[in-house]
Amino acid sequence: MLTENLVFLCEIDEVSEEQGYLVEFPNRPAVAVFKRDGNFYIMDDKCSHGDASLCEGELDGDEIECPFHAGAFNIITGKPTAAPCSVPMRVYSNRVIERKLYMVVDDE
């Protein structure tokens, strides 16, 4: 059986549905964790358009709006949904194991 590379992010109780939860790493780009209807969605935190943290943006339904220029992305697919953002965000699958949230990475 293939084993997945999992990276621990946080306890699931730490994430609220109101805003993104930032997880930083020493050796890889920070990610934003979003929660909607009890499901978790993970993408890189730094906006593909500029130097802004999506965790500081406003969650609106399935979309996260960047605090810089009000561009937006779909939190499930990472696709841009409002200008000036045009490059899809990198998104990650996740696993919940014993109330801990992990993301699946294809490196390491």
Binding site: P29, K46, C47, S48, H49, G50, D51, D60, E63, E65, P67, F68, H69, A70, G71, A72, T81, A82, A83, P84, S86, V87, P88, R90
Partner: protein, 330 residues
């Protein structure tokens, strides 16, 4: 004159003809913007109080949610009264040279490639701008388009632009018609744009597609003029061989007699001839630099599809967005 108040920020006066963005920049206020044409979505704002005239309500720069939230584009709105708005000012957009409107007349026309001409305007005032910036050329009673300067700032009051013939393009065709050109009045408003050259120790890469050549030529001319120790690689792409410049043509255009700049020309849609390479600009960029790219500043100008492809490939290798400079044109 109406006054614009940015909530918890600057306030400035707006001339009746000016959009909020132009009025802000004329007053030295760092209002976020990029394209000045209602498409990039960088200049969104929320009107809190007062009235504006929206020149382009259906603009592609606003999403459905933006409209639901009452957002508008500051480059497409003129204040009709004193207004109070919510917007995020930033130092990054404070202009070094405040844009000015000047009547302009054409003093020379030259062919660059089979479908690009160089036009030089006398604007009657010192030509102050940074390499990479653009101006809005208004053909009076016809309309206005954004074009980047290809020369360097000068006291001779001259701005040079490269204009690509767009079949059916009302403004671009004008520049290829000597009779109409003669009888048209022009107003040039500038400089604008944030994709101008940054002075630092990093080596530079310029990527130009089609009429995106002009601002990149300006950067290359600056690089030669400042006698920089930094390296500059210039990659120019076209669809066909006839769209490109030879190395000799490029060097003569930017005044690079000693061959300081590495010049690469690329064609995407036919078998390359001469020194041309086959492919797209972003592919050649990755082939040429691979993982070393992160040490460079990248400047680029070209059609939206080229910019999008480039942005995507740079995002995939985690290239720092603050070392990438471009203005989106549509």
């Amino acid at each position: 004159m109406n006054k614009v108040y940015i909530k918890s920020g600057s306030s400035f006066e707006a001339d009746g003809n000016d959009s909020i963005v132009r009025a802000a920049l004329r007053n030295g206020v760092g209002f976020p913007y990029e394209c000045s044409s209602g498409s990039c979505g960088t200049c969104k704002f929320t009107l809190i109080d007062g009235q504006v005239e929206d020149l382009y309500p259906g603009s592609s720069g606003l999403s459905e949610r933006d409209r639901r939230k009452g957002r508008k584009l500051a480059c497409q709105c003129r204040p009709l009264t004193n207004i109070t708005i919510k917007a995020l000012e930033s130092e990054d957009y404070v202009p070094l040279y405040k844009p000015q409107r000047n009547k302009a007349k054409i003093v020379s026309v030259k062919n660059i490639t089979h479908n690009i001409v160089s036009l030089t305007f006398d604007i009657g005032a010192p030509a102050k701008f940074l390499p990479g910036q653009y101006a809005l050329i208004e053909a009076v009673q016809l309309g206005e388009r954004a074009y980047s300067m290809s020369n360097l700032e000068n006291e001779d009051k001259l701005l040079e632009f490269f204009i690509k013939k767009v079949p059916g393009g009302k403004i671009s065709e004008l520049f290829f018609d000597p009779v109409k050109l003669e009888s048209t009045e022009f107003v040039v408003d500038g400089p604008y744009g944030v994709a101008y050259i940054r002075e630092n120790d990093r080596s530079r890469i310029c990527l130009a597609g089609g009429s995106g050549l002009a601002p990149m030529i300006s950067i290359a001319r600056h690089h030669i003029a400042e006698n920089s120790n930094a390296k500059l690689t210039f990659i120019f792409g076209g669809q066909k061989n006839k769209d490109t410049l030879s190395q000799e043509e490029f060097r003569s255009m930017v005044g690079d007699e000693d061959g300081v700049i590495d010049y690469i020309s690329v064609v995407s849609d036919e078998m390359p001839s001469g020194n041309n390479r086959k492919g797209y600009l972003h592919e050649v960029l990755i082939d040429e630099f691979g993982n070393d790219l992160k040490g460079f500043d990248i400047y680029c100008a070209g059609p939206p599809a080229m910019i999008n492809a480039l942005e995507s490939v740079l995002y995939s290798i985690s290239f720092p967005t603050n070392q990438l400079y471009f203005d989106r044109f549509f």
